[in-house]
Symmetry: D2
Subunit: 81 residues, 4 copies
């Protein structure tokens, strides 16, 4: 099974890296870029008996290894295969 | 309009960070995690007349600011709003 | 002139990525690794009349583009050339 | 003992993230910033009998978990305590 997870800064947490990209895009002549936020995406291949247990495993990974719950949100974007 | 872009290491490029997470998951008792790959996700808010010009703008950003084409692939995951 | 800057999570901010590396090292047989913290390092080449104005410029970059002061600390590690 | 390690892209590998910061700095009015390269810094706390064995352990971590030797260089910046 394959899971796709997004880990992104919470909306109220400043993202200087994203801000730098937005400013840099202006220097390319693209005033049309209003905002950029940068996060992480994880592709996880795992064995699981069914989708429910796969999701539980992925959420445990997120809680313990992938995300800092104080400043980041995670979202299981897809789970398939 | 809002675009979501994934920038990931090409499949043949080693990802030590992902490997570390896979190994760490084994230490949690999850031998079921076979592989982890880590990439970047960008949420981009932009003004564009239509979807086609939005896509062109996003692809130019990827080529010039977000991805290193020698070692990374990018994918416009969604474009909406 | 060349500046080297470290941007690291504040000591009280959880670092799941560092934690994953510490756990992964145990899987290599290295129980001797007690803790790992991951941060960013920036190498900045700049023109400046003297060290004092170089430092001011680097600190402004840190404040505005490189670090999130709520969750991160920065440190100008060296400034030379 | 505490080790500090830099993991940076090899000089011939394009760094779009650093490039974005350099371009963004120009938008702040700082044409004096010529180039920016972004890497990772790791702070590692470990137990070791002496400096030589600490260094061996840190280098093994770098080889196996922290750096991709094809595109990245690592450097043990300090080792103390």
């Amino acid at each position: 099974m394959k899971a796709l997870v997004h880990v992104t800064l919470k909306p109220d947490v400043l993202d200087p890296q994203g801000k730098a990209i937005q400013r840099a895009s202006a220097s390319l002549g693209h005033s049309a870029v209003r905002a950029v936020r940068q996060g992480k995406v994880f592709e996880i291949e795992l064995d699981a008996a069914d989708a429910a247990s796969a999701r539980r495993l992925v959420e445990e990974l997120c809680d313990k290894l992938l995300a800092n719950p104080v400043i980041e949100d995670y979202r299981v974007v897809s789970l398939e295969g």
